[in-house]
Every structure is written in C-alpha cells, then in structure tokens.
C-alpha cells in the first residue's frame, strides 16, 4: 500500500514537472519571438511587394496601382482587414490572392495560368503573391478586422467554410477542428490556437502572413490553409479555389474586432 502511494505521488510529481517544463518552453519561445520581432525579415518581402505593386507588368504593361481591393481602385491601407468580400464586378467572393489574380488578368492582361503559376516561393523561385501579400497586409496593421457576411454570397461562403472546418475526412479521419477545436493543444512545441473561440480565432487569423524562420520564407494565409490540408492528408487545396476562399471567409469573420497584426514572425 505504501509502495503504491509513493508511486502515485511520484507520478503526480512527474506530471507536474512535465507541465511546468512545457510551460517554460512556451515562455522561452515567446521570448525568442520577442527578440526577433525587431528584425523581422518580412520587411524584405514588404519592400519587394511594394515594388511589384508599382511595376508595369503583363502584356498590357500596366501596374497594379488601379487594382480595387474593395475600398476603391488603388486603396491599399486597411483593405486587408475587410477581405474576403463580395466583388460585384466579378460576381463572387474573393480573398486577397484571388483578387490579385483577378487584377493581373483584367488589368495587366495576363493569362490565368501565367498569373497563378507560382503561388508559393522557395529559395530563388520567388512568389509575387507572397511579396504582395506582405506589403498589402502590412498596410492594414493595427486596423480592426471587419469582414462582412451580409451579402448572400458572403453568407454562403461563410457557411461553406464552417462546414469544411468541422468536416472529418481523409485517411486520418481529420477535420480542422480536430486540432483547432480545443484549447491547450499543440503540435510538438507549437501552440495551436483554438479557432472555435473568439480569442483563438483572432490570434490565429491576425498573425498571418508570417515569416517562417524554419523555412526562411514569408508565408501567406493561402499557404497556411494549403499546408493544413496537406497535414490532414486531404486532397491538395487549389490556390484561390472556392474552398480556400470559403474557409478563409469563415476564419476571417470569426476574427472580427481584433486589430490586425501581421506580417508576423513564427518559428
């Protein structure tokens, strides 16, 4: 009996030690992020994004400066905090990347295939979308998230996104909610935000795009979803697809009210 009790106490102590060391690791990671905040290499992407926005490109040789991100042609400041949204000229809901593709095709005269050939960069094969997203989102830093679902098509996208978030499938029988539906979950040492709660949804959405130190690349929200799908062993999430826009609408709307705070820096 005594032996049993001693073991039980030892077990309790071990459990306690595991919890505190996990906690201190999380604190250390927070400290590490704090130190990097000042020299976030996302700055380099922001600078390039502004260049890409202003460069005359495509068969028509025009810049993106007349591109309407929802607040009028050429208005960038604060635009990202209200995306995705319904655009009457395209008669559909669009997120940032989809809208940029739309502008590249309609304003600059690129073909759809040319415009979307490199959604994500690696090494010297750089993506214009990552640079543009870095700059455009930086122009919304500090702006309160204010995504509307009042248009029927926006509401439809929101509902579809919500359904996808809870939809279980694939060889692992996974849903987004499997990892992001409970508080205090993590993958290795990475805290996973609980996206079903206001605070988690806000923290998750407002810190993308982000510079990923482990990849040495700036990653966009489209990339985040793409990679979550890969990790779930779902079929590949097509860049700027209706599914990606719907899921983004659901997550962006749930972040409403929070100040946008990206490009951020992550492990």
């Amino acid at each position: 009996m005594t032996v049993f009790r001693t073991l039980a106490i030892a077990g309790l102590l071990l459990g306690y030690a595991a919890v505190t060391s996990a906690q201190s690791a999380v604190d250390e990671i927070a400290k590490y992020r704090q130190q990097l905040q000042d020299g976030n290499p996302a700055d380099l992407w922001e600078a390039r994004g502004e260049d890409v926005w202003k460069q005359k490109r495509g068969p028509k040789g025009v810049s993106l400066e007349r591109c309407d991100l929802g607040l009028g042609p050429g208005v960038v400041t604060g635009a990202y905090a209200q995306l995705p949204r319904y655009f009457s000229d395209a008669d559909r809901v669009m997120d940032l990347e989809t809208r940029l593709v739309h502008c590249m095709v309609t304003l600059q005269g690129m073909s759809l295939a040319d415009a979307t050939k490199r959604p994500f960069g690696s090494g010297t094969n750089r993506s214009d979308f990552e640079a543009l997203a870095a700059w455009i989102t930086a122009e919304s830093r500090g702006t309160k998230m204010n995504v509307s679902i009042s248009h029927p098509k926006e509401a439809q996208a929101y509902r579809l996104g919500e359904k996808m978030f809870y939809f279980r499938g694939g060889p692992h029988d996974f849903a987004c909610a499997t990892c992001h539906g409970e508080s205090g979950k993590r993958i290795r040492l990475q805290d996973l935000p609980n996206l079903t709660e206001k605070a988690g949804a806000q923290l998750g959405y407002t810190t993308w795009p982000a510079y990923r130190v482990s990849q040495g690349e700036l990653r966009t929200f489209q990339w985040r979803l793409y990679d979550c799908f890969r990790q779930q062993r779902f079929p590949e999430l097509k860049f700027t697809s209706e599914a990606s826009i719907a899921l983004t609408t659901f997550l962006a709307y749930n972040a409403n009210g929070a100040a946008f705070n990206a490009p951020a820096i992550k492990r």
């Binding site: 990097l36 000042d38 020299g39 290499p41 700055d43 380099l44 600078a47 390039r48 130190v213 040495g216």
Partner: protein
C-alpha cells in the same frame, strides 16, 4: 542583383543604434538538393558600416549566420540627419551597399 537592405538608424544621447536586415540565401555548402547534389556555399563573408568616411563596424561572417541576417549595433558620435552606409561582400564576390539617414 541582390535585394536592397533595410537599414534603420536612430540617434539617442550621442549613441546611434543601427538595425540592418539583409536579403541573402546564406547557403552553408553542406546541404544537398532534391537530386542529392551539394548546394554550393553562398554566404556573406564581410560586412562593414561607414559613417562620414570612417569605418564604425567591420565584421567577418561565416556560413553559421542565418538566412536573411539581422544585424544590430551601436556606435558613438553620430548625429541626426547624417548618413550611414553598410556594405556586404559574399564568397562569390557579389556585393551590395545601401545607405540610410540617421533619425
């Protein structure tokens, strides 16, 4: 041609704080690509900062420095409105110089 650096320099109480973000691959020469071939080393070897024609920082770097390096340092005697210039040279002889005004 490499991308420009981002340089921020702020003078306070006679000391200038300089923050430099450089855009560079910083390949160590130890990694292999998808085909199993070594990726050739490509990294910044020397960095120098000048203020009024005088070198205020000179550094020798190696392959252990991270991709897109961030460098922060302080030096004395800089004034608001003056220029600071930073140059890096890598092992392939490529180089880049950028300037910024001290705030």
């Amino acid at each position: 041609m490499a991308d420009p650096m981002r340089i921020r320099a702020v003078a306070r109480d006679g000391v200038v704080n300089v923050k430099v973000l450089m855009s560079h691959e910083m390949e160590t020469g130890q990694r292999k690509d998808g085909a199993g071939q070594l990726v050739p080393a490509h990294f910044i070897q020397s960095v120098s900062a000048t203020h009024n024609g005088k070198v205020v920082l000179s550094a020798q770097w190696g392959p252990a420095v991270s991709k897109n390096p961030f460098l922060e340092f302080n030096f004395k005697a800089g004034q608001k409105g003056e220029r600071i210039s930073v140059t890096w040279v890598d092992n392939k002889g490529e180089q880049r110089t950028d300037e910024a005004t001290i705030n």
